[in-house]
Amino acid sequence: MSLKKQFAFTLASVGIGAALIGGGTFAYFNDTETSNNNTFAAGTIDLRPDLNGAAVFNIENAKPGDDWDVNYNLSNAGSLAANVNVTADYTADGNGDGSDIGTQLIVTDVQFGGQAVTVNDPNGGDLTLTDLDNANIELGALGADGAADDEKAITFKLTFKEANAPQNEYQGDSASVNLVFEARQQ
């Protein structure tokens, strides 16, 4: 009797072993721990006003000796502080005689938020509007919206040079400057 029972038990063990050896899904103990709702919020940089190509200055009927104070406000409506720079693209219309009025228009006292801005003068002497073609100028910082420095004025003086000699080739000439203002994250 005992022999028979023992024999039956051994058979059963083999059966279990066979089931374990096969492939397929394994049952095992596991536990998962998760840290939920980790938040990553990106800030924004939003330079204002939205220009869409609008002109910042428009000077008419200029003559030697005239000067103008240009004043234009830039602000940051975003949540991140930014550094502002401007790239200028200058074109002259010589009114048929190839004269470039930009050479007679002197730029001085460039400031941003009341702080002097360093402008590189490639040709030495007076800094003229023509000198600013393809120039990239670092203006300074604008704080995030709500900061004390989130709005600053860019100011400069433009003077039509007096040469103490006739400058008639410039009569009727015009020039235009395209400005691209960029606010970059700091």
Partner: protein, 276 residues
């Protein structure tokens, strides 16, 4: 005479036949009984927690706050490309079985989160288990530890980027992505050799980085990230592992990064342990 013999022979045969068949036997025996044999399964139970104020809540959140509804006092602030922040969590073995790290994974909440994940790297540093240390670090030590990891990562990344790719400011997008990936890999290598100092009851103790997992955050999303067998770290009951999660928002091109301006995205970061 004949009759008597036949009868006795038959009778004897019958008697023998009775003995040969099966049936109850009488014999000497003794029995021993063993009772109460049990099989009890051990438990695999891990508990995750931060060790700063308050203890519940996500590792990464934006703003600081001391109130009961605030996430904590280690807010990251707003993110911009180039930012790196490190936060951490402890996983303690509260079960009776050894637990083996099997998977590290993340879950992204939505498409915006996946867009962020495509522009971010995650580096997860696993620190050696030592309950004497990790269960006795107070919240300011915890803050110092994540800050130290953070500083190491940022400084090393910036230095290596300048050294390995000095012209990275003018690279095209694909080249830049490769460069960034390579620099992250170098930082990972150096992080693995690093140890950081914490103070337990005023005494300085070094905690060592055991291993670092690193990938683009988008590759961490999904549940298939089985840890390599050689790196499946085992935690004994009562021991804790500390995971330092360093997330970097990669500084790519404005065209690539700008669509993420103003977006707030959420991730779950998970660990799965299995029996050893």
């Amino acid at each position: 005479m004949k009759k008597r013999l036949a009868l006795s022979m038959l009778a004897s045969t019958v008697a023998f036949a009775g003995l040969v068949g099966a049936g109850t036997y009488a014999y000497f025996n003794d029995t021993e009984t063993s009772t109460g044999n049990t099989v009890q399964a051990g438990t695999l139970e891990m508990t995750g927690f931060r060790n700063d104020i308050p203890i519940e809540g996500p590792m990464f959140y934006t703003s600081d706050g001391f109130g009961p509804d605030d996430a904590g006092v280690l807010g990251t602030g707003l993110w911009q490309p180039g930012d790196t922040h490190t936060r951490g969590m402890f996983i303690r073995n509260d079960g009776t079985l050894n637990a083996k790290l099997n998977k590290l994974f993340a879950e992204a909440q939505d498409d915006d989160a996946m867009a962020f994940a495509e522009q971010a790297h995650a580096t997860i540093a696993v620190f050696e288990p030592d309950s004497n240390v990790f269960l006795n670090i107070d919240s300011s030590e915890y803050a110092d530890l994540v800050d130290a990891i953070d500083q190491f990562y940022q400084t090393t990344f910036d230095d290596l980027m300048e050294a390995m790719f000095p012209g990275h400011d003018t690279m095209e997008l694909e080249e830049l992505k490769q460069a960034i990936k390579q620099v992250h890999g170098e930082v990972k290598r150096l992080l693995m050799e690093e140890s950081f100092r914490v103070h337990v009851n005023g005494d300085p103790v070094n905690v060592n980085v055991q291993h670092v997992f690193q990938d683009q955050l988008s590759n961490l999303v999904g549940n298939d990230n089985i840890v390599d067998p050689g790196l499946q770290y085992v935690v004994e009951p009562g021991e804790s592992l500390f995971f330092g999660y360093t997330v970097s928002f990669d500084d790519l091109t404005p065209e690539e990064n700008n669509p993420l301006q103003g977006k707030e995205v959420k991730f779950n970061f998970g660990t799965e342990f299995v029996q050893d």
